[in-house]
């Protein structure tokens, strides 16, 4: 069966520090991969999506970036965090050609 792993679960970082969040999917090949951010009490904002290795599309201009070095690995990064980067970050995957999303357990990021 397919599983998605996302870590860490919580992270507290100072302003200006770098960020690296990792997400891996098991049990499937060629998934579509997504990064979402959810501010407290708000909806889901799509940040990046990927249809293949090295193929990244950005939805919102910001100081975040994403990479897909392997088929089932998706990384969210920042060189310098801002206070406004705080939020709940969710990785998700879907079968190519299907719309149903499977979400990871999320990372609660607090930038202080």
């Amino acid at each position: 069966s397919q599983t998605i792993h996302q870590w860490p679960a919580t992270l507290v970082q100072p302003v200006g520090s770098p960020l690296s969040l990792e997400c891996t999917v098991e049990g499937t090949s060629n998934p579509n991969l997504y990064w979402y951010r959810q501010a407290a009490g708000r909806g889901l904002q799509l940040l990046f999506y990927s249809v293949g290795i090295g193929q990244i599309s950005s939805e919102v201009p910001q100081n975040l970036s994403a990479s897909r070095p392997q088929d089932r690995q998706f990384i969210l990064s920042s060189k310098k965090l801002l206070l406004s980067d705080s939020g709940f970050y969710l990785c998700a995957w879907s079968v190519r050609g299907r719309e149903k999303l499977f979400f990871g357990s999320g990372t609660q990021l607090s930038v202080l």
């Binding site: 909806g43 719309e99 149903k100």
Partner: protein, 111 residues
């Protein structure tokens, strides 16, 4: 671009009362999905509707897709404390595999 509006943002009910959340799109959708996010958790897929006028039921939950495929609703009959969470709709237009999420409706059930 495509927008999906969801109302209400919050809903307080007494246990046993019914609950409905509504989702409206600015464009015709090819399908709509519903997800539930428990407090502190991640969104979990509930159902997908594809056909115009489609109605699907999951126990006490009833999902509807409008005839024009621009709106949808989720109705919960006789809410229970286990129904607490945020319910999101997510719509897709033809040719796009990326769903656009509504802002969600947070359901609070008072025992």
């Amino acid at each position: 671009g495509q927008q999906v509006m969801q109302i209400p943002q919050y809903q307080h009910v007494q246990e046993g009362e019914d609950f409905t959340t509504y989702c409206n799109s600015s464009t015709t959708l090819s399908n709509i999905q519903w997800y539930k996010q428990r407090p502190g958790g991640h969104p979990v897929f509930l159902i997908q509707l594809v056909k115009s006028g489609e109605v699907k039921k999951q126990k006490r939950l009833t999902f509807q897709f409008g005839e024009a495929k621009k709106n949808s609703s989720l109705h919960i009959t006789a809410t229970q404390t286990t129904d607490v969470g945020t319910y999101f709709c997510a719509g897709q237009t033809g040719g796009s595999y990326i769903p656009t999420f509504g802002r969600g409706t947070s359901l609070i059930v008072h025992p």
